[in-house]
Structure formats: C-alpha cells, structure tokens
Symmetry: C2
Subunit: 290 residues, 2 copies
Amino acid sequence: MGFEIKAKIANFGGQLLKLEHQSTSTKTKMALNLFLPPTSISQPSHKTPILIFLSGLTCTGDNCAEKGFLQPHAARHGIAIVYPDTSPRGAKIDGEDDNWDFGSGAGFYVDATTEGWRNNYNMYTYINEELPSELFKQFEVLDSGRVGIAGHSMGGHGALTIFLKNPGKYLSVSAFAPISNPINCPWGQKAFGGYFGEENKEKWAQHDATELVKAWEEDRPLEVLIDVGTADNFYKQGQLLPENFKMAAGDKGIQVRYQEGYDHSYFFISSFAGDHVDFHAKHLCNRALR
Amino acid sequence: MGFEIKAKIANFGGQLLKLEHQSTSTKTKMALNLFLPPTSISQPSHKTPILIFLSGLTCTGDNCAEKGFLQPHAARHGIAIVYPDTSPRGAKIDGEDDNWDFGSGAGFYVDATTEGWRNNYNMYTYINEELPSELFKQFEVLDSGRVGIAGHSMGGHGALTIFLKNPGKYLSVSAFAPISNPINCPWGQKAFGGYFGEENKEKWAQHDATELVKAWEEDRPLEVLIDVGTADNFYKQGQLLPENFKMAAGDKGIQVRYQEGYDHSYFFISSFAGDHVDFHAKHLCNRALR
C-alpha cells in the first residue's frame, strides 16, 4: 500500500524521505528511507535510476542512511537510493525477538516456508516485487527500467541472490562483506534451517549466491563488485566465504577486493561507498545516454 | 594522563582511534575518537594539523565520527580530527543525568564555578588545555602549531568561544548551527545559570560568542564560516541567534550561510562537511607551505 511520508530531510542537495507503509508481503508496517538526489527535485520530468541497498543483521533502513555515506555519491550521479528494513517487525511470532541473527532484524531476504514464519517473513517478495512496485507507483520520478541492488553482509547475500535469481531485472550489483555462501556458514545455516527447515536443502541452494552463480549462463554478462576487509572478524570466522563465490563464478566478471585492515563496520562501508556508487552509476546512468 | 587505545579502525585510508584517558580537569574517565589521515600513517615524520570537533547536546565523541562525514575530507587534506565527549560522565553529582540540556552530555565547554559542578565540569580547560596537551605528548605526528576548532550547536558555541578567548592559538574556526549568543537563549541561560550561578553575569559574558566578538581587535584577522539550516527548529525557536553574532561582529569576516531547507541533524552536518574541512584546510595546510 501507499507510503506515508513521515519526514523530508534535506541532505546533500537532495532529500531523504522517511517512509512507512503497510506491506502485503509481510503483513506488518514497514519503515524505510528513500534518498532522492537533487536532480529528482529540480528536474522531476527526468527519470531517476534507483539503487536498492539491503542492510545487514540487526540493522534497520536507518543505519546505512546515517552512516554509509552513499548519499553524496548518489547525489553526484543523480541516483536515488532506497534503504528498506531487514525483516518484518512486531509480527507477534513466538521467539521473533530472541536472537540477533534470526527473526527480527534478520529476515535474510527469503520467503520463509516454515510454520510460524511463512506468514510474515517474506522479505524476498517484499524486496524483489512489492517494494519497487509501490515505489514506482507513488514516486513517478523513479525509473523502473534502471534499478541496481547492493548490500552489506546479510544484505550483500540479499543483493547477490536477488540479482542472480532475476537475470536482466537489475542492471548492477555490488556488495560489502557479503555472506556469499550461506549454506556453508553458521549464520546461513541457522537462518535457512529456521526459515526453510533443516531438510529442505534444495530451497537452501536456491538462495545461495555461490550455488546460483554456477548456473549463470556463460554468455550473459556478469559484473559484480565486492569489497571485503581483511580485519573483518566475521570474514575470519568463515561467515562470509567470498572465495567460494569467486571460485564458483569461474571466468565470470567477479571483482573481489580485499581491503587491508578494514573491519565489518560502517567505517568500512563509508570508506568504499564512492567506489560502489560509481560502479552502479556506470551501469545505471550510461543506460540513459543510449 | 596518557590515552589507552581501545581500538584502531581503518577508515578512508586512515585510522579512527577509540581512546580513553583519566582526565585531571574533569576527574573522570573521558572517551574520545581521534581520526588520523592516511599521511599520518604513511609519513609519520610529516607533521599533521588537527581539527578539534566539539559536538552538541546529548552527543558523545562517537556521533559525529560516525555520521558527520568529516573524515573523507580530512583524509584528502591530510588533517587529523579529534572528537571529544561533551561533558564528564559518571561524576556522581546529584541530578547529573536528570536533564538532556544540563549536566551529562551538556558540559557547554565552560569551567563551572557553582557548588556541585565545579569539581568536574571543567570542559573549557579540558578542551583548551588538557586534551591537546595530552594528544601532542602521545601522538608525535600531530602538529601543535596547526590546530583548528569547529563544532555543532552547543559545540559550535564551544568552538567560537574557545577560538575568540584565545587569539592566535587556533588557526581556524567554523561552526554548524552554533548557539551564538547563549546569554540570550533558553539553553544558554539554563546552562550558565547552573554552571556559573544566576548572578554571575560577567562570567556569562565571558563565554558568549556574541559578546566576545565585539571585543576582538579590529586589526586582527577574523574569518569564521557558519552554516545554519533554515528548517532547523532550534534556529526557529531562537536557540541559535547567529544574526546577533553576525551583527556584533560588524565588518569582521563572519560568513553565515543560511542553507535552505536543512535541519539541525547530522544529515545537515554531513552535507556541508566538505566545505568546512576545506575551509579549515585553507588555514591549516597552507601554513605548512610557508
């Protein structure tokens, strides 16, 4: 359903809109942030490409909008950014708020199939269908034909899998410290076990970037930018496994950059935000010149 | 006393150090953040100028380090930034934590004279003497001869007054939405009444930027950059009064920019962080070329 605009905040010559709407996918009220670059306001007839930024465990759509430093670069390129929440909130499911890596703040961008969760935990459909559809309906300045997707950690997993599952739908994808092979890491195993059931391994594979990239058609272009910090404790603990993704991709155009000394925090994201937005702009903005 | 380095976080090619030390001015443990630009690490023999950034009511030294986006610009210019806390914490003073605009998080960068507060609430001496002195002692890469000062809201008041009270000590000053005439606004009257007493109006004037700028020697150069958002509710409520400061300064070089539609938040600070760091760089970095 339509978005209620809770606040309009001037930012980098554009506006950050604080939005709320009732989601049909999650059956809960969902909050999000939408950054509109200066050109969306000064030239509303000029269609604006949009980047979907998916956040990581425990986050809402606020963290990256406040700390990620993507907006100045999006303002420069004339790109909008939407920062959705990472799960339904207040779904009144037993145990929903008991874990920081499962349930609230940890929707993992899948549609759950298990009892208890499947009624609300449909973040895949929410991000891939409902959210963009509602945005394009209400904000006519946004260009439904030029959408990129990015994310951090669990959100990097979301960005990679949603991109790979929908060839041609998203023009660009990048990730900061993504969970790249969830079926082989503790975070992913806990989440997929809970949302899909322990036995449903076929379903697990359908939401694993490393499995999905193997099936990507050889002749279809694939360019992915990934940054991972070498001082990232979750990387060191084997939660991210970007090597597996890179190896599975073979000759395809996966660029994994290991950033010396960087950790898993927003200090890492903000440091490379410019590179990522520039990367998306190459795909999202050049298209406009055709 | 010396700083304990609690964490070193890679950021924009430099490092954000999370520091803690026992302060002799406040008689409490004080936490702070110190950003060192890439050149401080790659060329430790090359002295680095430093900007002191004073935060506003309710903040610690973390908020602006995470949300202010001064670091990328400081990295570009080779400037360090220190983000101190805004008051002593845990001083065990009666009523210390009862108000968001007095006591904890609201030290107002003065040395209190009133019973109860004067033992710990010595943020003027802490910022103007103890903190830089300790930093220059421990971090030899920092250049004690090239120090700038800036701040937001209450911190803008701190930056302006500390600059004006110490001619020649700081090479540059700028402020975001500063409390510019505290003796004539509710925040300032509450704070000065509490820290100096209601009767001590002479002391009040000694920490009022508008009063201080009147006394600035005509032939001494004065260049100040101030940004204020026109949608800033505190500005509209008369808490900031930059007009009074500008008028009191007369022909002196005060640049007050009213930024259309911007509020009082870090979304405002981050949007103009580049301009402010550039302004400080003009004063702090050119000096190195002489």
